[in-house]
Structure formats: structure tokens, C-alpha cells
């Protein structure tokens, strides 16, 4: 079909949420038009085995390519020429966009930790934030289906609030490397768990996707299909049904409603020609990413209603959350001069530290209400431009120092839960338009004391672990208010159209269906009711699969 013909469903966005919805719907027999603002992309473009030395500036990040020359992101980053966003005075927010087919799934780190029972009912546990309209038990089968489909490696450790996957769901995780085994020894001694990480990476072949071949950074895109991205999986699979039409370079700016309040489609700018077009469908699914989805709703003004679309609760744009981030790194003399071998592995986490201190939160001994996990990095990697950091002097002693230090530094990265607060939200900046003439987003963002206390807990705990292993800090961490990441910096922004069980204080129901418009669904991170410390994407996909299943049923029964 062509984009001009009416489809069963119009899906906006081709990232984690949009592609999952499109795949489920096409598989159920629905015709789908996917509108994607960026260009067409396939990781066949990925320079998988190029080395840093083959790139300009040894591949370091620049304003053109913030995460390095080879990073898969094209036409995106923190700043996009002609497509600004603004910040309220006193607020800082960083918004990463990847305008390309597959969105940010082309270069995400693939860390995939499912949320647990506590995470879906945070308010019930500590009185803060809101509960989700679903329980973990509702979601468990959807996580299983998603993990199996996507391909996630990891182990079932039976830890508190870190649920096991169903039997046969997970792929075998890669072995720990020396420095990970070393950390585990330290962690074991002070009851900080170090267990296999979970990542959306194949270690066994499924369908046409090959298992990881243990080389080449996943952020470049994985042309062999081992690292999950929608451009090697959901999108090509949906295409093979013959039911998917894709329009790239299609910048959607509003949802169209008819006189009865039903969505009939969307309006977009065809970037190649600059012309304004309409796409029609029986159901509209918006998954343009947390920020962009809120922007489209707020910019849609049915009957001139200033609050935007699907916003009778006033919650669209509110409850913006990101992951709490901070870092510590240390040198471990015990790791100096260790025997060399290939530590590239899956080019990311084999092991991590899941949150372990739930009991002391419950008893009140720990004053941070919510947890975090720790992502760790070390390894004998391609030395890169940072190889000389912390070294001194010159001459043959410097040569010796470089060799001695190589592989003896470990970085600890906090990834924590943020509780929604009234000071963190996005709205339309009525003064500023992008190059297409579309009003842009304005961000307000503030952390609360809850997050700062969590940073303190992280710093104290990691220092204890480092100490146990005889390490020395590269530098003393800043106090939490300075050490904490900027809003949006961890690129886990969620929550701007939260789901709930009451239309008065949420934007969608548990299936991502907006309370106000019966055939308008949201299937990206915007629907999150809380931001557990677990990285959001596997949950985005599990929810999108569940919501699309609900749409498919309603299309079949003629309800939509």
C-alpha cells in the first residue's frame, strides 16, 4: 500500500515502542503505516570492525557525533540543527534524539532488566509517586514473550525484586572476565551481589540473527543481528507479512480528530518535499519517544482546546522522569600487570550489581526510598584516547606505566530510580518553533532529596567495595548534588503520559489507550507510571506488545 491510502493502524515512530506495535499488528493481519521522521537505515552500514585509528580523531565524540564517530546515531544527538528544545530558567535537561529508522534502538547499550513486583506498586510500598495499573504478575508473561522474542542473555538468581524469567526464556550469559570475577570476590565478602547482567544480545542463533561474535562495539549497530535493534528484527519481520508500509522522512506534528472525538489519522511534513500530508487509520498509535509523543499531543488542539489532546487530566507532559546517574572509578593495584587475553566479549556488561538493600529500606535503616543498580566497566579494550589519563612524566617510565595501568581501572555507574515530582515536566514553548514551524518542547527539571540520598548510598557502598579490594579512587566523588547526572542525561526519560487506573490523574489506561480518545494509543516510554532503576526499554517493549495485542483484538472484533 502507499502512505496515502487509509490503513488499519498508523504508527508514529519506529523505535522500541513503535516497531513492537507494528510487528504485533501486522502479524495479526492489520495493515500498518509506520511514519518515521528520520531517514531509512540498516545496520549493514555499520563499520563493525573498523578500529579507532581508522576514524577521524581516533573516533572521539564531537558535536557532529556526540557518542563517537562510529556511533550508529545519524542525524541526532543532544542538539539537532534547526530542531531545538528549550529549558525553563534554572532548569537543565538533556534530550537525546536519534532521528532514523529504528530510533535509539540502533545504538542502545542493550541492558535489559525487567521490573519487579515492588517496582509496579511503589506507592503501596512507601507512599511516594503512584502505582501502576498493572501488577508484576500481569506483566510477567509479557516480559517472557518479549525477552524470548528479542533474545536476552542473563541468569535467574532469585533475588528480591529481580524476578526470574520463565523456563527457557533467557539465553546463556557470557563468562565473567577477570576483573568481574575480582569484583565478585569483593562483593561476596561484604554482601553486595555481583551477578550476570541481562542484555538484549543473542548468544545462540535464533531465526536469521547470528549470535554475538565477541567483537565490535554494539553502539555502532550490529549488522549480524546479535544485538537487538528494531532494524534487524521487528521491522524486517513486519515487512515480510506484506502488511507494513513505511514512510521515512515523515515528521508528524498532530493527531486529527473527527467531530465525534475519534482519531482519524495524523498530519505530517514530508521532509523531502516540505509538503504537509495526512495519513489515515482506524487506530492511531503514537510512539515517537517520551518527549516527542507529549509534544505531538500538546501540539494537537482539537476544536482549539489549548490544553492539547488526550489531556483532560492535565497530566500530559507531567511526571517527567529520568534515571539517576553518577559515577565512581578506581584503580586496583591487584589488577596491574595481569596476563593479557581477549576481553572484548559482548562489548558491554557481562556482570552487574543489582540493588540489594531493600530490607534496610523497609526497616528505615537506609534513608533513600528507592534503589539503583550498578553497571560496571573495565577490560583490556582498544586503548583509545583516554589511555594516558592519570599518568605523569615522560620517557621509558611512562611507557612502563601505560602497560602496568592497562586493564586495572574499573568504573562504577549508578543507575537509580527517580520519583516523579511537580518540578519536572515538559510543555510547549509558545515562543520557539523548529525549522518545520512546529512549536518546540520546553523542559523543567529538578531532582529531589530522595535521589540525592540515593547517590550518597551508592557512593558509600562503592567506596566500601573498592576498599575491600584494595583500590584507590581516581578522584573523590563530588557531593551528591554535584555528582548527580543532569535530567535526561541518562537517556531513560519516561512518564509524560502516564498510565493509571483513574482517568482523572492519568493519560492512558493499562493498555496505553488514552482515556479521552478511544482509538488513540501510546506505546513508548511516555506511559510509564514510575521510573524503576531498571533500564526502561525491555519494559517499553513488553508494554507495547501487550497494548498492541489489545488493539489487534479490538480491530478484529470491530470495536475499532
Amino acid at each position: 500500500m502507499t502512505p496515502d491510502e487509509p490503513h488499519d493502524a498508523v504508527v508514529v515512530g519506529s523505535g522500541a515502542g513503535g516497531a513492537m506495535a507494528a510487528w504485533v499488528l501486522t502479524r495479526a493481519g492489520a495493515s500498518v503505516l509506520m511514519l518515521e521522521a528520520g531517514r531509512d537505515y540498516s545496520p549493514d552500514e555499520s563499520p563493525m570492525l573498523n578500529m579507532a585509528m581508522d576514524a577521524p580523531l581516533r573516533g572521539v565524540g564531537t558535536p557532529d557525533k556526540r557518542f563517537g564517530y562510529y556511533d550508529a546515531t545519524v542525524d541526532g544527538g543532544w542538539d539537532m540543527p534547526g530542531e531545538p528544545y528549550t529549558m525553563a530558567e534554572g532548569s537543565e535537561f538533556m534530550w537525546w534524539r536519534s532521528r532514523m529508522l529504528g530510533g535509539r534502538t540502533n545504538h542502545w547499550a542493550r541492558n535489559s532488566f525487567r521490573m519487579g513486583p515492588y517496582d509496579f506498586k511503589p506507592r503501596t510500598r512507601d507512599g511516594l509517586g503512584v502505582d501502576w495499573p498493572v501488577t508484576y504478575d500481569d506483566m510477567a508473561p509479557w516480559y517472557d514473550k518479549t525477552e524470548k522474542l528479542v533474545g536476552v542473555y542473563g541468569s535467574n538468581d532469585g533475588l528480591e525484586n529481580h524476578p526470574n524469567s520463565g523456563p527457557g526464556v533467557l539465553q546463556t550469559p557470557p563468562k565473567f572476565r577477570v576483573w568481574e570475577t575480582f569484583l565478585k570476590a569483593g562483593g561476596d565478602a561484604i554482601n553486595i551481589p555481583v551477578v550476570a547482567a541481562r542484555r538484549a544480545i543473542l548468544t545462540k542463533q535464533i531465526d536469521e540473527r547470528s549470535p554475538c561474535y565477541w567483537a565490535s562495539a554494539c553502539g555502532r549497530g550490529c549488522s549480524i543481528g546479535a544485538a537487538f535493534q528494531t532494524t534487524t528484527s521487528l521491522i524486517p519481520w513486519a515487512k515480510t507479512t506484506g502488511k507494513l508500509t513505511i514512510a521515512t522522512g515523515a515528521m508528524v506534528y498532530e493527531v486529527i480528530l473527527d467531530a465525534t472525538g475519534k482519531a482519524t489519522g495524523v498530519r505530517y511534513i514530508d521532509k523531502a518535499t516540505g509538503s504537509h500530508k495526512e495519513a489515515k487509520g482506524r487506530v492511531v498509535v503514537v510512539a515517537a519517544s517520551t518527549g516527542e509523543t507529549a509534544r505531538i499531543l500538546l501540539n494537537s488542539k482539537p476544536n482549539g482546546r489549548s490544553e492539547g489532546l488526550a489531556n483532560s487530566s492535565g497530566q500530559v507532559g507531567r511526571n517527567l522522569m529520568d534515571t539517576v546517574g553518577s559515577n565512581i572509578s578506581a584503580y586496583f593495584p591487584q589488577l596491574e600487570g595481569r596476563p593479557r587475553y581477549n576481553e572484548d566479549g559482548a562489548m558491554g556488561l557481562h556482570a552487574y550489581i543489582p540493588f540489594w538493600d531493600y530490607k534496610r529500606i523497609q526497616s528505615g535503616e537506609v534513608d533513600t526510598p528507592r534503589g539503583y543498580h550498578v553497571e560496571i566497566g573495565g577490560s583490556f579494550g582498544d586503548p583509545g584516547m583516554g589511555v594516558g589519563s592519570g599518568l605523569d612524566g615522560y620517557g621509558s617510565s611512562l611507557r612502563a606505566d601505560v602497560k602496568r595501568r592497562y586493564g586495572s581501572r574499573i568504573g562504577f555507574t549508578q543507575r537509580g530510580e527517580m520519583i516523579p515530582n511537580a518540578n519536572s515536566y515538559c510543555s510547549i514553548d509558545t515562543e520557539t518553533k523548529d525549522k518545520f514551524g512546529i512549536p518546540v518542547l520546553k523542559f523543567n527539571f529538578a531532582w529531589s532529596d530522595n535521589e540525592l540520598k540515593q547517590v550518597k548510598h551508592f557512593q558509600t557502598s562503592m567506596k566500601e567495595l573498592i576498599d575491600k579490594l584494595g583500590g584507590t579512587l581516581v578522584s573523590e566523588p563530588d557531593e551528591p548534588a554535584k555528582a548527580i547526572s543532569k535530567g535526561g542525561e541518562i537517556i531513560h526519560e519516561v512518564g509524560t503520559c502516564r498510565m493509571g487506573s483513574d482517568a482523572r490523574d492519568s493519560v492512558t489506561n493499562q493498555f496505553g489507550k488514552t482515556w479521552d480518545v478511544d482509538n488513540l494509543y501510546l506505546t513508548d516510554g511516555s506511559v510509564f507510571a514510575s521510573k524503576a532503576h531498571k533500564n526502561p526499554t525491555i519494559t517499553i517493549m513488553a508494554l507495547a506488545m501487550r497494548s498492541a495485542d489489545n488493539i489487534a483484538t479490538r480491530l478484529r472484533t470491530g470495536e475499532l
Binding site: 552500514e45 563499520p47 570492525l49 578500529m51 579507532a52 585509528m53 576514524a55 577521524p56 580523531l57 581516533r58 558535536p63 557532529d64 557525533k65 564517530y69 562510529y70 545519524v74 542525524d75 540543527p81 557470557p174 563468562k175 565473567f176 572476565r177 577477570v178 568481574e180 570475577t181 575480582f182 565478585k184 570476590a185 565478602a189 548468544t203 561474535y213 565477541w214 567483537a215 565490535s216 591487584q334 589488577l335 595481569r338 596476563p339 593479557r340 587475553y341 581477549n342 576481553e343 572484548d344 583490556f380 586503548p383 583509545g384 584516547m385 583516554g386 589511555v387 594516558g388 605523569d392 615522560y394 620517557g395 611512562l398 611507557r399 601505560v402 602497560k403 592497562y406 579490594l469 584494595g470
Partner: protein, 231 residues
């Protein structure tokens, strides 16, 4: 006057070298008439306006598109400094044999803000090095004898022993060293020396540590009185 304005030379003939040296002198004078308490200071330089590689570069053509800007004299100084930072040793060549000076040229000529900061340090720093060397021993840095070169570097190369007033040159040295090391150890020769053996696609499970590496960490862990768990 920023040194860049006097660095519009390309060829290394005598006239040009002289012109360049005058530029270097001018920079030195600028330093000398700076605030004595602050020590050596350098003026800002004009940003490079060339085009970058853009937000969607072609990975089949990874050559940096911007023009190179270092003068021959600057390259001579850079080359000599890099080779003192990492002198050739056994099988491992000096940085100048591995294209490090050319990389530094690519780096300081790049039209990006981080590289611009380094450019101000490095271009002024190299001029300062020659100027200072001439003042002390009558020869530019590259032509000075090893003892004179080291005497000069010893004042700026160690973070706890920087000669008061030379904080800026020390900052230059530290950045220059860092870029030199980065450039050097990202080459095949550098990998061999440091022991990087990755970027080798393999089939089957990830093999994990070699028996030797595993035995080593086991001994380390047990030596610390901790429990080893085989991977």
C-alpha cells in the same frame, strides 16, 4: 597578538623559518609582558571554520575532511616532543614513526570546540617550547641536546613539580602527552606493546579468561583472603 596570525607559513625554507621564529618570539614577548604573578599566559585563537564530517558521515570514506593547519616548524617541534615522551624502545618505534605528529595536526586542525581548546594550548605551547629553548641554549627545541630538552621538560612534565609560573606550559604538556599516548596506543604497534588482542570475531561461546589469566586472578583473590568463584 595570537600566534596563529604569524603561522601562515607552510614551507620550511630559511626565510619562512625565520618568519615563524619571529612569531614565536612575539608569543614569548606576549608571555613576558603578562601578569608576572600569573606566569606564562596565552591569548585565545580564532576558531577554525572548516566543515566537520557532519551528522551522517560516510563510513566508506573516513578521512577527516578539514584542512591541516600546522606549519612545518610546528610539526618539527611536535615530532621531537612526542619522541621524547615515548622514546623508541626495543621493538616499539618512536611516535614520529607511527604518524603521531600527523595525527596531532589532524586534531588541532579540527573544527570542534574540544580540539580548539587543545589547539590554543598546543600551538602556543610548541612555540613556547622553541622560544624557551632558544633563550636557554640558542637552539630550537628539536635541535637542542637531550640534556637541555630534558631540563626544560622537567619543569613542566610532573604534576607535583611544575615550576611556578609555568602552569600554562605544564597544561600544554599534559594535553600533548595525553594525545600522543592516545594516538600511539591505538595503532597495531601500540596494541602489541600494551597487549590488546581484541577485535577478533569468533564463533561459539565467549571463551573467557585463558587458564593463565584465571590462575593469576585466583591467586590474587585468595591472597587477599577472599573467595574465588570460577567464571
Amino acid at each position: 597578538m595570537p600566534i596563529s596570525e604569524s603561522s601562515d607559513l607552510v614551507m620550511i625554507d630559511r626565510r619562512v623559518t625565520l618568519k615563524w621564529l619571529m612569531g614565536a618570539m612575539a608569543a614569548g614577548q606576549l608571555a613576558a609582558c603578562g601578569d608576572g604573578a600569573k606566569g606564562v599566559t596565552w591569548a585565545e585563537m580564532e576558531a577554525i571554520k572548516a566543515k566537520g564530517y557532519g551528522t551522517d558521515p560516510d563510513f566508506n570514506n573516513t578521512v577527516a575532511p578539514w584542512p591541516l593547519t600546522m606549519t612545518q616548524a610546528e610539526l618539527v617541534a611536535a615530532s621531537s616532543l612526542a619522541d621524547i615522551i615515548l622514546p623508541a624502545e626495543g621493538d616499539y618505534p618512536a611516535p614520529s614513526k607511527l604518524g603521531v605528529p600527523a595525527f596531532i595536526n589532524e586534531w588541532v586542525s579540527a573544527p570542534y570546540p574540544d580540539q580548539h581548546k587543545d589547539r590554543v594550548l598546543i600551538i602556543n605551547g610548541l612555540a613556547w617550547l622553541d622560544q624557551e629553548s632558544r633563550a636557554r641554549s640558542g637552539a630550537i627545541f628539536a635541535s637542542a641536546d637531550t640534556a637541555a630538552q630534558k631540563a626544560l621538560l622537567d619543569e613542566i612534565a610532573y604534576k607535583d613539580r611544575v615550576k611556578p609560573g609555568l602552569e600554562k606550559p605544564a597544561e600544554f604538556f599534559s594535553r600533548f602527552r595525553s594525545i600522543t599516548l592516545g594516538a600511539y596506543y591505538t595503532t597495531p604497534e601500540g596494541w602489541t606493546e600494551i597487549g590488546y588482542v581484541g577485535n577478533q570475531p569468533g564463533t561459539g561461546d565467549y571463551p573467557g579468561p585463558t587458564p593463565e589469566a584465571a590462575a593469576h586472578i585466583k591467586a590474587v583473590i585468595e591472597g587477599m583472603g577472599l573467595k574465588y568463584t570460577a567464571p
